[in-house]
């Protein structure tokens, strides 16, 4: 399993290095590589994201459905019967309750693989550099583009960041805060904001006060930005570049699909549509 995962990370590393090579190794090239690579990943997982959105929308619609709400009340004390009825409705309506989870499951290894490939490519230690040297594909037709001698060392600078380290803009006058050792966490705030925006903008409205999906979405819209912001505070800023790019592209994708709910980000917005009857 470890060897397969290593191959997966190596694949990501080689793609990143190929893009970096095509960009000419210059200043900001690795940051731009991460952005382009994220766009590539987003492009590949576009159908999955669309499926996730459709699945989430179907589940949300179901929460507002009269028949669904009725069986919740009717079988509130009989969980087994409730589960049977829910399965029947899923089947009748052609809804896969896991359709919205599967793409998330698939994206997690991609996020972790990308993070590991960024760290591997930046090779902050001799052991890391050795691992990088071995990860680079030794294929003759790729050798003009993936030559370890010319690729190393990678330029890890991107805008004001060192992509191999957590981001922070030093406080003026040498001021320090122990809980913000890298300075003012600009990127962590941007990641948290764009994650919040993405979650809010793509959250369908709900009429049902007992709607579990809506309650979970609401909870996730708070916890996910905080969690990702915390990650960015503590881990290599290359990951933050991925998060910001991915969030922005996510919003763009949802907007292109006509699913963005701009009212959700306005105070008091996101008023629910009336419950529909089957």
């Amino acid at each position: 399993m470890g060897a397969i995962w290593d191959q997966f990370v190596s694949l990501f590393t080689n793609v990143l290095l190929l893009i970096y090579n095509f960009l000419g190794h210059g200043g900001n090239a690795f940051g731009v590589s991460i952005i382009l690579f994220t766009m590539l990943i987003r492009g590949i997982t576009w159908p999955l994201n669309a499926q996730q959105l459709k699945g989430a929308k179907a589940m949300q619609d179901l929460q507002n459905d009269k028949e669904w709400q009725d069986i919740q009340k009717k079988y509130a004390k009989d969980r087994e019967k409730l589960a049977q009825e829910q399965m029947r409705i899923y089947k009748d309506r052609g809804i896969n309750p896991f359709a919205s989870c599967l793409p998330t499951l698939i994206q997690f290894p991609i996020i972790i693989g990308l993070y590991q490939s960024i760290i591997r490519a930046l090779a902050a230690s001799p052991l890391g550099l050795l691992q990088l040297a071995r990860s680079v594909y030794q294929v003759s037709w790729l050798s003009p583009f993936l030559n370890i001698a010319t690729l190393i060392p990678l330029n890890s600078r991107f805008l004001w960041m060192d992509l191999g380290r957590p981001e922070g803009i030093p406080f003026p006058g040498g001021f320090t805060l122990s809980f913000l050792p890298y300075g003012f966490p600009t990127l962590a705030i941007i990641v948290a904001l764009t994650t919040y925006l993405q979650t809010k903008l793509t959250m369908p409205p709900s009429t049902n006060p007992g709607d579990q999906t809506a309650a979970m979405n609401s909870m996730m819209s708070i916890y996910m930005p905080l969690f990702l912001g915390w990650l960015v505070l503590n881990y290599a800023s290359g990951l933050a570049v991925y998060f910001v790019t991915s969030n922005v592209l996510g919003i763009v994708q949802y907007a292109m699909m006509g699913r963005v709910n701009w009212r959700n980000v306005l105070p008091g917005g996101g008023k629910p549509a009336p419950a529909k009857k089957k």
Partner: protein, 356 residues
């Protein structure tokens, strides 16, 4: 159920990313040096002094773990100090009393970045290459900064000297010759690839040998930096070759071992390939050369490349083996011990040091 699954996923992601973050720290293979009676092992949060007679611990520095991460080989100085650079967030270069394990300077010298390379001591000055690409010249007695010189990208290789110039390899593909009197670069030579390991200077001081990721070994004139010869290797010779008389023993990360003429750059051996990649420098021994492989073995070859002996030590060996007395010291990674004392005839492991 779905809520539980999502929260679990987020937590799992956090845990996995936390595991990955180890790579973000400068965690690498251990550093090792020795005198006649003790081995000095830099590993993780501590530097250990180990008695060579029985493999027991004499002291560890610091007494309890802090923010230090010691990877670079500790350096014994002529005036009785042990210098150890940290690749941890403290960025400290420490002077330790090798007899007691206590600090010798009033405070460590704090660099702007990690210390991955070991420093070089010449007369009463320490020349310490930092990961930020700057060479620092420090007062040997106090650790105070005398001057500094920005060179290039990260400096990971321990400098070498001919007594006049300081030769500093860099990941930016250059070998820099620094004139310590003028405090400037005397010359620099393009190696066509990153130089992560150390150079070595010939006994007469006229030639400096260094390798790079371009899969080449170079012999350069120490005065001018002009290339005397270039030897192609199958893969990257990571660390300094071992100079023994007129022969350079070198090894690469594909596991090939070479015997290269120091004068003409010709490899005298057929394919000699023990069972794994070699990152450490070969060790010249009385009747040939020994190399330690990633597969956890030490192999010895005679001057013609014929096998003398081999011994399985365990773990993955990336650190250069060190000889002292009748021992070959080996510091593996990923083993249930930190250091092994192998008899120099390769017949047995005399002791293992576990850190306790």
């Amino acid at each position: 159920m779905k809520r539980f699954a999502l929260i679990s996923l987020v937590l799992l992601g956090g845990i996995l990313l936390s595991a990955c973050s180890a790579a973000a720290q400068s965690i690498s293979w251990p550093g090792l040096s020795a005198d006649a009676n003790h081995a000095y092992l830099a590993k993780g949060q501590f530097v250990y002094a180990v008695r060579l007679s029985d493999g027991s611990k004499v002291w560890q520095y610091p007494a309890s773990g802090g923010s230090q991460v010691f990877d670079a080989s500790p350096v014994l100085t002529p005036d009785g100090q042990l210098l150890a650079g940290s690749a941890g967030s403290d960025n400290g270069l420490y002077s330790i009393d090798p007899a007691t394990g206590k600090d010798k300077w009033s405070a460590p010298f704090t660099g702007p970045d990690h210390w991955i390379a070991s420093p070089l001591v010449l007369q009463n000055t320490i020349y310490a290459p930092n990961n930020n690409g700057t060479l620092y010249a420090l007062n040997l007695a106090t650790g105070g900064k005398r001057w500094s010189l920005p060179l290039g990208h990260s400096l990971w290789g321990t400098p070498a000297t001919d007594g006049k110039l300081i030769f500093v390899p860099s990941l930016d593909h250059f070998l820099y010759a620094v004139d310590p009197q003028a405090q400037k670069i005397a010359w620099k030579a393009d190696l066509g690839g990153a130089a992560a390991g150390s150079p070595v200077v010939s006994a007469d001081g006229k030639t400096v040998y260094v390798s790079s990721s371009a899969k080449k070994l170079f012999a350069l004139d120490t005065t001018t930096g002009s290339i005397q010869w270039t030897a192609n290797t199958t893969d990257w010779v990571w660390n300094a070759p071992a100079l023994s008389g007129d022969t350079l023993f070198a090894s690469d990360i594909s596991g090939n071992v070479y015997s290269i003429g120091a004068v003409n750059g010709k490899n005298a051996w057929p394919v000699v390939q023990p069972d794994g990649p070699v990152t450490g420098s070969p060790l010249a021994i009385q009747n040939g050369v020994a190399v330690a492989t990633e597969s956890g073995f030490v192999y010895a070859f005679d001057p013609h490349g014929a096998s003398l002996w081999n011994i399985g030590v365990g773990g993955n060996i990336y650190t250069s083996p060190v000889a002292s007395g009748n021992l070959i010291l080996v510091a593996p990674l990923n083993a249930d011990f930190m250091l092994a004392g192998v008899s120099n005839d390769g017949k047995q492991i005399l002791w293992k040091f576990t850190g306790k």
